[in-house]
Symmetry: C2
Subunit: 235 residues, 2 copies
DNA sequence: TCTAAATTGGACCAAAGTGGAGAATTTATC
DNA sequence: GATAAATTCTCCACTTTGGTCCAATTTAGA
């Protein structure tokens, strides 16, 4: 709320934010992430969020203006965390081979998507039909994240590590296999018995993704680009 | 509402359902599918559904008892349609090779998931956290669908067409790549420019899924079963 | 055609949801 | 410690929601 006043001219400097305030905000953000990822935007009431956070609901208005702004703040918090984790992981392997870096990316993604499933769940809740929130989500967080990754994928295709085809599509497939699956953990646990809370299961998922998408025995994308539809089984 | 009275003893047969009634029910079901897939269960009001259907909202109570029952009826309608499409497709290739059948399955799934994205969207809305509705969904529709598919996948692994690893996990990955992606069509269109309303894009997706998951140059699952974690890249 | 059952429409309710105003209470700063 | 800003709490006004009730209307079946 108070961040736009650095003018040192004559304005008396505003009193700084109290400590209890940031605590309240953190509690609200955490509760919002959880609630929104379960019920979606429309399906979540501000009172529910306030209850989960253990604070009075008018505090949402005070700290975040309204439900919409709270949603955005919550989403931003998740993505910031994830970006930090990702950058950190990739920095470690800055000079490794592209394939190795892809592997690191997948493992980091899988790991984070498990510990914070809301990262994907909130997207799922919002992305299945057009809306202003979706546009904001894409512009603010999704595209900046996707663009560089797709570029890397393109490289991997050129050296035959990744399968041919539209790299953007390929990335979406990988995303679906990683985050998409982990967002459905409760369903998958019941239907298949696979429990991603067990580290082995998580590792197996990462292994399979890497094996399937980066096995490294694909044709390089040279003249093949056009006739991407393998065979004419296109029924 | 009237289905439990077949006793031919002395009960006078009940007058049959009027035609306009089934029209109303169909309109409500279609509207419910659309609305629930966008807003989730909690996020959708019965009034919204009634408005979309162009009928008065108390009719929901009359025809479906309550919101919960309407949801179940809507989900059942979707799955029934899909199962019919699937059975029909596979019947055509009853005696084809396993790989061909897998391909047909993928193409049918992709096609249906595109024309009726609610098939996957409703699952996504519901499956990200435990609930009674999720349990019902799994028992009634998901498990009966998954079980035979996983068995087929196992065969494909044994002949080296599909990659090794837990077949259930493999299936979930395929599902994520097909239905999962198509459920996010609006997001993907904005972020990547890929428009699944164009048949070529849809074909490319199906092609890539088949190429990645059923390329057919995988090791057969013989003694490998136990140490499913391929290589020791397990960092 | 007549009549009773099936279906629909309109009014209504209690509960829950939203945002906000203003008093009351902390707490940073002097 | 005093004071004013920052934060929290109490209460309210308004809308939405799931659902009920019953009168009005339509339709199946004689």
């Amino acid at each position: 709320m108070n961040s736009d006043n650095g003018r040192g001219t004559d304005a008396k400097k505003p009193r700084k934010q109290q400590k209890r305030s940031v605590v309240t905000q953190q509690k609200l953000l955490a509760a919002a992430v959880e609630a929104f990822s379960e019920g979606g935007f429309k399906g979540t009431s501000t009172r529910d969020i306030a209850d989960r956070a253990g604070v009075h609901h008018p505090l949402i208005t005070y700290h975040f203006k309204n439900k919409d702004m709270l949603w955005r703040a919550a989403v931003t918090a998740i993505f910031r965390e994830f970006n930090i984790a990702l950058v950190k992981s990739l920095a470690e392997f800055e000079h490794s081979a592209p394939r190795k870096r892809a592997e690191v990316f997948v493992r980091t993604y899988v790991k984070y998507a498990h510990q914070q499933p809301a990262l994907h769940k909130i997207i799922l809740q919002e992305a299945s039909h057009p809306s202003e929130r979706l546009d904001w989500l894409i512009d603010t967080h999704l595209r900046p994240l996707f663009t560089p990754v797709e570029a890397s994928l393109k490289e991997l295709q050129q050296i035959g590590v990744a399968p041919p085809g539209n790299p953007a599509l390929l990335f979406q497939m990988i995303r679906g296999c990683a985050g998409g699956l982990l967002a459905l953990a409760p369903e998958i646990k019941t239907t298949t018995g696979i429990d991603f809370d067990e580290p082995e299961a998580l590792d197996e998922l990462a292994d399979m993704i890497i094996n399937v998408f980066f096995s490294g025995n694909f044709r390089t994308v040279s003249a093949t680009t056009a006739e991407s539809g393998q065979q004419s089984t296109t029924q």
